[in-house]
Point group: C2
Chain length 214, copies 2
């Protein structure tokens, strides 16, 4: 999976190229940051995505700068980062973060077929919460036509993972400061009912006890 462009250069011991590792990180996160060039300037835009097999789908308005740049076939880079913890070291410079990140370099393909676009829309909604698609009004042909959907083949992708404690020498630990890891998670709270919603609709199980693999 690594190419000259996706080979991890900094801290190569943290690099992971196994396809399943890349997929697992993508499937646990929700937002990616896409970098692209417009008017000779580098831009970065946060956006949603869904992974289906060996492809990542992005969607948006055809009028957006992001969709315009990516649909032109110009190369781009995309990153997903899960922050897992803060690493407390006995030294100032030894502090770090535990994380799992993926970087993808690619070129996007525009989906034109309405059935393929409808399938990708379903995948987006099902990624929000499994089972949701069957409960909501599906997109109309007009909505499908007004939405640009891009497929990014996961060909050039690499992951980087840091776990564990600080890596200072044993001598540094004599300082006496508390050291360890403070883990973090992206945690759901209590669902908040939409005042315009159906007052007799119970909160579905997949929203009440929302979970993603962690």
């Amino acid at each position: 999976m690594p190419t000259a462009r996706t080979k991890v250069r900094r801290k190569p011991d943290r690099a992971r190229y196994e396809r399943q590792t890349v997929y697992d990180i993508l499937d646990q996160a929700f937002v990616c940051h896409v970098a692209f060039i417009a008017d000779s300037m580098p831009f970065v835009v946060p956006t949603n995505y869904v992974r289906v097999g060996d492809k990542l789908y992005l969607h948006g308005s055809p009028a957006s700068r992001l969709m315009k740049a990516l649909s032109s076939g110009a190369p781009f880079s995309l990153s997903v980062t899960l922050l897992d913890g803060i690493v407390f070291s006995p030294t100032a410079m030894g502090h770090s973060v535990n994380y799992r990140s993926v970087v993808i370099i690619g070129q996007a393909e525009v989906l034109h077929d309405p059935d393929a676009k409808m399938n990708a829309m379903r995948d987006f909604v099902e990624y929000v919460a499994r089972g949701r698609w069957a409960t909501v009004r599906p997109p109309t042909p007009q909505e499908i036509a007004a939405t640009m959907i891009l497929a990014v083949p996961l060909v050039e992708a690499s992951a980087k993972i840091r776990t564990g404690f600080a890596v200072d020498s044993d001598a540094e630990y004599a300082s006496g400061a508390w050291t360890g890891v403070l883990p973090f998670k992206w945690t759901p709270g209590e669902p908040i009912r939409d005042p315009r919603g159906n007052p007799s609709a119970a909160v579905p199980e997949n929203i009440l006890h929302y979970s993603r693999p962690q």
Copy 2:
């Protein structure tokens, strides 16, 4: 604060340009994504930062691709995104996310003065947990020299914020599906003690009851 380059084009009703709004979002997040151009390709790299006054500091190895690109004075773009919730709509297309994001476009200045670099290092450690700096071994002159620190003036910055429920027409709400918002937070867990650490050091209050403004 908005310029032609940072003016929000998509969903301009979500745009915020007040300096304090931008600062608040930066001060609650922990990781930014930086986009830059290297070998004519757009790259995106996650990295830590700290805001001090009207500047953002980044740090890294002078050998990293990110630091090389930014220290050359080349323009770059940087984004911080806080995902606050998932918005459940009665329609497939109406699903959305609540978020607060900042985009900064800038040019970085390399810090050369060792005292200025030491101050920035202290700011990084204090951003990890307030009071931490006084408890750990400060950087040596060699560590200071081996670390590149960049200052990014917060001149071109804009924020984008989505809050609230779905915005579908009242007619769509007849569908009967549960609708609402599932809020999310980046939540600390139980501190995990480093087995090499001082066994008699209690977990400091600022780590045991870690909090960032939310």
